[in-house]
Assembly symmetry: D2
Homo-oligomer: 352 residues x 4
């Protein structure tokens, strides 16, 4: 960084949980500084009017979204918006030289037809999208380093893929047997007032949703297919859990070689993630608790083999708003800017 | 019942959650009356000293366990004790003519060798055990009616089996593909002071336990094998959820006939449970929330088919302490006494 | 009731938590039957589409609000609507001979000027309001028996008044020292999608609101003044607690006679509530937990005296949606119809 | 610090929540390093076996408690033990030159007779205790700087005193009218397996405890009396809240001058805490949420005046395990070592 000071960063869509995580995490980042917050319905409001605990800590006001202005001010721009909006902004920002990190689904698909099939809408930014890199550093670290546009992996997908990647990459499982039973805290639904996310409704209850048709399915399958070198379909079932933060993915698959034991797989996973500081493969017999990851950018992975059924069961736990969203974005930004992957990101949970 | 008044009932092991559920449910039962509460460490204490909200409602004192005395007083005895104790008491009670309902694992196994392999200990009550009936009325209603000793199905197993039974009985799935991803509130751990069940530890967190080796596995497999007419192994993974009550089992299996659609399965399940008033098969597209079942003896079942993967996903929700424990026991008792299966059991949840 | 069958009951505003509680409680009532559900935005929908767990239990469809039709069908009408709407409907229903129970604030005030000062709006129903009775049976049982229109006491107010009434009625405290620190679960906010009631916001947090200006203050003061025979001001501070149901009011006041001890007050409270089956005065040294009251129409009261400060501290716990809302309404209805006050209302909590 | 490197720190009683907070917070401290963890029942265990999420982060093993060895290794020692143990260790550590910070009640009392009256036991360390300083930096900053032994203020007391101090110091209230209604998450009970702290018991419930006799009362009164320059009695009532972390104290008192308005008091509080970086006085009309303070060393204070009753209501929110325990200790340590009070302590909550 030398004399040049911290990199100026903008956040478009700052009012939601993604935005407030970025603001909070970047406040502790030694080489980046938030200089712009953009929003639509909240334009003109001090950021701390939305999050009063930040009064006197964050003195920015949310501004109307003006791409010219953003590009003039910011070297890096995070887009933290509902699906279908980033694709209207990224091309301009890219053209003006910004590095762009999108937290929505808009730039996660190699094939825009898949995007349109699951998310709807039209897309006129095919050329820009073609250059976007999938933002999961543990799998695409080198490509992210050179990218100008990153479509950051979402929360469920991150937990799912980090559990599956070593298995698929090494050809250890029968791909079509992969089942992901995923569980998320309600903050994954965003800061949106919806009846089913009320404490009175969601607390002390538990249920699945989007069974057999959740929109994260094609995204998981795209990366799984890339890892396995063949087209793969997975079963993905999300559940809403009565807690604020955290995702646990419990992943089941049949081993190709029933002779593999738990310790073998721990060795393989540890090797696979040797250079991934944010992944912690747990010792034999220890299974992750989501609370361990909360407030950090870590992914904890626990592994079990059932010799009775020849299946491997992998459990991965992340904080859905950090490794599953804002922290992942900053990890990608670090790579894009040539920093250490770990720079400025939290590593230790408060417990309990 | 005629003039004879309510059936006198005893509860051995009254101090735990199973006990307090039984006491509370039987207080509303029109044809049974709790006349004896037995315990070990709590002997001599008024029951309401353990549960102060019951002061002036339940005036029984916990007595030391004296089988003679129990048999003299009670026509029906519930045993709500840790595993390995019921088998020391049931033979005497049976001999003296009591009808016995055990809530532990002691009388759930046809083959005591399986019991000993998973639970340890010796068993000298083989003859008595051989006459015990498995206490899941939806599957063994007729046998329960004639039983003197019932080993009531536990919470995880009830949720799992009610989801799997129609599939296995009708031969609709490839048995070895069955995976049960189960989630339970912490009351399933009982009223035992353990660090991992503290609110400070368990709240806002989520994790699996007993992966690939939980003791409910052989029990599930025994009944699944009985239903399918062949030996079956299932994958069963329990998770601890930050809530008090409720179990959700998410069950995955590959359909033998990939042409079956969701509506077919709803029809099949509805027919299978036509005479089971405590099972509610949900309409197309509705998935159960555990809260719907809380405070009731109901099991809600939601069904989905994924034509992309040829899998059926069945979700079943129960209150782990009612349909998963005390309510199940009373449902069995109703059958054993010739009453309506629904007599005196709650059908409507308080919501939210 | 004789041969005439259950009393036909209508509920206007059935879609909210008050409505669903009424529906659920009345389903168990032996002498009343819900024959009409009315709503505005939900008109035309089956009730079970709003509360899917009631499918096959409650087969009513929500109808548009037509006062003629309601009066023709129903002997008793519950109004469970936002403030300011009941006063537009009650006069017509009263005129047509219905007994009306309003769960809003509209008919809780003797002086409509007080209502208008705190709630705003105009009121043209002065004559009808003048005949309304305050719906807290423990204090106004006899008047409720003869009433045609009851303005049922709300949740915070019920907990507060049941704690204060014996003290004020017997002149035991210095009235202006009364402070009510009240705590409520979030279901008190209703089934409204508001950001501050989201699980992600409200869980694991705690705060006060409406300090020194909450609209329940004048209602508490009106009844306190009536009890004391003089104008009284109280301090009332509500707090939002991360739980679904329950209210605890912790009430502080200075004793006139510092010689009174805890046991004296327990005796006085027990005598005061001798004929109130829904109030449970706890033994010496036992303080109420809100969970004890959940799912019941009970109010638990614990009493402590601090000889160091000459204060009495009274704690009262209720289920905010039952004794604090729908159960209270049914208790009032029972009185209005000449039934036992306890008829059809739940007395035993499920625990835990 | 120059070339001397970080100050070596020891923690006696490392296995509990106080210990794990200290370990976690000091891991981020730039000028201190944990070199010793001591315990009794956990001696010999790797610290990460108690807190598996810290595997590979904290490589210390818990050692048996040997005061000689501790003094040889550590410049600063935190004692995080049950009441009555620190007073057996501190004299030796002090004599050997360590700076000692005790998180228990042992060194919080000027008058050991008060300690013995409320906590029992004998004390032979009167001379050492006489030199202990009360560890609440906002009130005793200068004395802490020069202290060798600090008895850190506890969680309830910190929240209570920070709300009351400006009022008492400036003589703004009638002292005997002060009432503290305090609410705490269950982690305040420590990592102890007790039935009433189980999630199944404590979740979705709420109750008071220790009414009129909680042991924090004399500690609050001691400091209040010191601030006011006269003997003061306060009313203190703690409540257990269904959440993990956080304390809210709602404090009521009658103003001497009924002409004071909210803004006056905000001005007075802001001035009082001008040099206290860890106290945040909130703007007019904003009341604190405990979640805002979680994971930080901050105390948020909201102020309201009720002109109808001439009372001031002050609400203060802290994280009970940080500003209420371990963070407070480190804040004191910073002062004792001549560092900035804020060094190495977290200032920004993760939200939500």
């Amino acid at each position: 960084m030398g004399d040049v000071g911290p990199v100026p960063v903008g956040i478009v869509g700052a009012s939601g949980y993604g935005g407030v995580q970025l603001v909070r995490l970047l406040a502790d980042h030694p080489a980046a500084e938030v200089v712009y917050l953009g929003g639509d319905s909240s334009a003109g409001k001090p950021f701390s009017s939305l999050y009063p605990h930040l009064t006197n800590c964050i003195d920015l006001t949310i501004e109307a979204i003006d791409l010219e202005k953003i590009a003039a001010k910011c070297e890096v721009v995070f887009l933290s918006l509902p699906n279908g909006l980033a694709c209207q902004m990224a091309p301009t920002l890219i053209e003006k030289g910004c590095k762009v990190l999108d937290l929505s689904a808009d730039y996660r698909f190699e094939n825009l037809e898949t995007y349109k099939a699951w998310y709807g809408g039209d897309r006129s930014d095919g050329a820009v999208a073609a250059n976007a890199v999938y933002g999961l550093p543990e799998l695409y670290r080198d490509r992210i380093k050179d990218a100008q546009l990153v479509g950051c992996a979402g929360c469920y997908v991150t937990a799912s893929l980090l559990a599956l990647a070593p298995l698929l990459k090494q050809g250890l499982i029968v791909p079509e047997t992969a089942i992901i039973d995923a569980k998320s805290g309600t903050s994954g639904g965003g800061r949106k007032a919806e009846v089913n996310l009320l404490l009175a409704e969601a607390d002390n209850s538990l249920g699945a949703y989007g069974v057999a048709r959740h929109r994260h399915t094609p995204e998981i399958e795209q990366i799984c297919s890339d890892l396995a070198g063949q087209d793969i379909k997975v079963q993905f079932t999300p559940h809403l859990i009565p807690m604020v933060r955290g995702i646990l993915a419990t992943v089941y698959a049949t081993l190709r070689d029933p002779g593999l034991v738990r310790e073998d797989l721990i060795t393989i996973f540890s090797a696979f993630y040797r250079n991934s500081p944010w992944v912690k493969v747990l010792p034999s017999g220890v299974y992750p608790q989501t609370k361990w990851a909360c407030g950090t950018n870590l992914c904890y992975i626990g592994i079990e083999v059932d010799p009775r059924t020849d299946r491997v069961i992998v459990m991965s736990a992340i904080d859905n708003l950090i490794k599953g969203q804002a922290g992942q974005g900053i990890q990608c930004m670090n790579l894009m800017l040539g920093y250490e992957e770990t720079l400025g990101l939290p590593q230790l949970a408060f417990y309990p």
